[in-house]
Amino acid sequence: MLEPVNISLESLNLSTLTPMLIPIIGALVILCIDLIKGGLNKSLYVMLSLLFLLMDFGSLVDFAQLFSENGTMMGFFDVMLIDGLAIIGQLIIVVSSMLFIPLSLTSKRFHEYSYPEFYALFLFMIAGFQFMVATDNLILIFVGLELASLALYTLIALHNRNKSFEAAIKYFTMGALAAGFFSFGAMILYALTGSIEINQISAVLAADEYSNIGFVLVAVTFLLASFGFKLSLIPFHAWTPDVYEGSSAALAGYMSVVPKIAAFVVAMRLFEFLVHSNVVWLETILYVLVVLTMTLANIWALVQSDVKRMLAYSSISHAGFVMAAILIGTTQANSALFLYWVLFAFSNLGAFAMLWVNRQKVLVAGQDSDHPFEKFAGLVRTMPTAAAIMGLFMLSLAGLPPFGVFWGKMYMIASAVSGGYTVLALIMALNSAIAAYYYLKLIVFMFMKEPVYDTDKAIHMVNASMPLKSIIGFATVFTIFSVLFVSPLMEFITALVYNSGY
């Protein structure tokens, strides 16, 4: 007979759930509103989502405060884990989402934004990512991941055209395979340690001194494959360009930032203790993955003819670049990862948002994708400001100082340097040089070429509206003056990361 369990509410630490509950409640509210009165304007849902996200943000700031006072918080039978990583991860997720959601207030109508389900799914997805980063229980990670992924597949498909379905199906199928990998990897870890909590797994493995190395390696292989898919590491990247191309530019930009940071946080939790375990294999394999991802993605980005696809490959490359932090494994590197991602988020979202405002519904003669390079030819003539801003994002992504991503790059390479990875640092630097070419290609088209399409229809900025412009302006300002934010950000991040033990 089982004994009844007595659990005090305090020990459950229910408040740890608030950041996730807010978006879930928000989603339910939106669904209910739609139920009561359909056909409301999308701006309502956008603003509601924004409000809930703001509340979410507020609660996270509150947690950051609490964390600095009390350290890591566990909740709900230690399933919830609110440490520094969780807080930063959630902050990045929520802030990026706040930047993303106003992008739906386009001047043209697109399918997904006309339905409240979109916003509900969006908020559910955010909750999923938040669960994913705020736990070290493999089950919750898995469930959170799937919650987010399933919502994301639908969001992609909701764009409602052939390419977006194709993208969703591809993403879905590969995601299912990755889910299989994850569960297999988790199973082996469980077989090895009898636990599905990362803390205990690492403790048991360390106590055994990694004697069952074969098992560990298989587990890591499968988990790496699974997260390699989420992080779009080569060779698990194949979905990325197609999915980005198929989804709307705004969502593509979002996908290049948010799911990845969630995956990075989990990857950090999963692999960091292994990196420090002196298993040479892991170091080698991560090294190879990082270098392959950076380099090959860059090389493929070189030959793209569509800007969005180019940016897709570029985001693969950036992910590889950042993955180096997990390989290096020092506090400095882990902090640099988050810093990089924050800066990258603004530039990249800005770049995708620029594509988004330039999205026209009907392609002109000769145009075979949404954003071919030719479309932007001679943009500086017609819309100098737009060209300048797009150019700015490109330069930032290329790592040109003093724009946003440069500081991330610098920190990253610096941590490689101080972590003893000299060759890696050089490879990272040289990869930035290769990458510069394709970013430059767009600048060349915008600033140095004559317009290609002979059309009287406006194809630029057709989708622009005030909210979109504001978001872009915000990203622009942040990108230009990022140097002013780097120091406080870094301080904040380092404190959180360091106090979480990474």
Partner: protein, 102 residues
């Protein structure tokens, strides 16, 4: 050989997983592909249950339980996608999913 240990189950699970992989790589029909993903998840469930049994720990069963839940939801979403796609293209063959490349 006659004493069935944990390793037997792990090996079985692995073999089933490999069959799933085989199907995933081999199948060109989306529905069949989804079948293969089910195999992957099921094979893992056996191992979880076995580990749970041999270690006397319930977490494995929990995991398997959630895996089943996940598999079910995936089916719902996946079939939704398939339905839409089928309405659009009239086919669920992989050959139709080739508009993006390079």
């Amino acid at each position: 050989m006659m004493e069935i240990g944990l390793n037997h189950y792990l090996v079985l699970s692995t073999i089933l997983f490999a069959i799933g992989l085989l199907g995933i790589m081999r199948r060109r029909n989306l529905l069949m592909l989804f079948f293969a993903t089910e195999i992957l998840l099921n094979s893992v469930n056996i191992a979880f249950a076995a580990i749970s049994h041999f270690y006397g720990d319930l977490s494995g069963q929990m995991f398997a339980f959630f895996v089943i839940a996940i598999a079910a939801s995936e089916v719902a979403v996946g079939l939704g996608l398939l339905v839409v796609w089928f309405k659009r293209s009239g086919s669920i063959d992989l050959e139709t999913l080739k508009s993006m490349r390079g």
